[in-house]
Symmetry: C2
Subunit: 263 residues, 2 copies
Amino acid sequence: MKTVLIVHAHPEPASLTRQLVELSVHTLEQQGHEVLQSDLYGMSWKAVFDGLDFSYRVDPGYLSFVAESGHAYANGHQAPDVAAEQQKVLASDAVIFQFPLWWYGMPAIMKGWFDRVWALGLAYGYKGAGNTYRYGDGAFKGKRAMLCVAVGGPAQDYAPRGINGPLEQLLFPITHGALYFPGFDVLPSFATYGSTRMTSQDVDAAKQAWQERLVHLFDDAPIPFRRQNGGDYPDGHVLADHVAVGQSGFLAHIADTASAANP
Amino acid sequence: MKTVLIVHAHPEPASLTRQLVELSVHTLEQQGHEVLQSDLYGMSWKAVFDGLDFSYRVDPGYLSFVAESGHAYANGHQAPDVAAEQQKVLASDAVIFQFPLWWYGMPAIMKGWFDRVWALGLAYGYKGAGNTYRYGDGAFKGKRAMLCVAVGGPAQDYAPRGINGPLEQLLFPITHGALYFPGFDVLPSFATYGSTRMTSQDVDAAKQAWQERLVHLFDDAPIPFRRQNGGDYPDGHVLADHVAVGQSGFLAHIADTASAANP
């Protein structure tokens, strides 16, 4: 029995996103897992990271998010909603994020979940050691994460040479930047395309495909992002010359680019 | 004399982001331009796109953001703050976005500006013609856009083989996806690195570099993204075989990848 947190962001209960959330809950519970939820719209989640997050200020005269986040986290002065979300993540073996793709990213309410919950000392600057623990190490090491995205446009626009750019590259700031950074093993993203124009048969097919992914949540292979501390980044910043020779950009940070290019 | 809109997102008036905003206003006004501002924190901008944006609902029983956005835009039922921002963009010759990079993207409050302001019929589905006018065509054709980003980490982490991925690729969902899509000519992004640990000399150097970019706002060459309707995408979705041969991913959508890889 594992614990899975589902963080989701669509206010319409009948939306495809929410239908797939229901399927997640049902499928995972049927497998004997415990399911936690963060229904960001339902919770009226505070999206905006601002001074109100810090009831006690290290420096009342200058708002540094980094300094105040670190101090609040270390001293138990965090906003209660932020601390509660951190506890849910820490209690989970996997976290699934389900959202519609808006302008090639998360809805603001979910971006604000990361902005606020990913505190200094937890998601970055872990153990007060700067960038020592990141990209494969960190507070969430050993946990899994996966995105489930409802995309409005057609799949061909997100193909390797599609006009929008490949979906997994558009999501790289989230999968690699926001999830692998603090230590999660990140599974290839799941997406539905043409999500606003689906027939009921399309929806059924999407549900079947998503259920298949859910069943393998704990045994599918994660995206083979390169570990900062695994030898590929001798200085902790830049790839060694002998690694991914001749490559640059996102794909150079994935050990097996063949599988990554076609997730 | 041109009109420039600056959309910015940092609540601390003494932050680097806000210092560079002040410099933008000063520099552009000195050049004789009119400057408009959207101080998202100062305006208490509503970040979350939800049913409250639609006072009149096409379908009160099912919230489709696409359908309601299009109907509200076409019939003058939009939220007043959304309509006001659209008017500011339409009145401008250039729009500059200034923000700190949080988890490899915009702060939620700015993401919510795009989520809400980029309505169906304006920023997508222009002229009610589906995807006919996008990526080089659209409501904002003839206008320029530029990002000015305060990055916390060191520049080497964002180098072509740096561990975070190249900054301009991390920003591609914004520059290409949110700005070029509705027709803007997008200039290479401006960034400061190590922004939380700068000496006053570093700040002076950053200001000088930013001022230099501002002075050339209307004559610097934009990123040469490929136009959807320029012949490179015969079906409007996927690159023609003879274009960017052997390439896939973001860089295939930039005509001159040499300059794009090192902006």
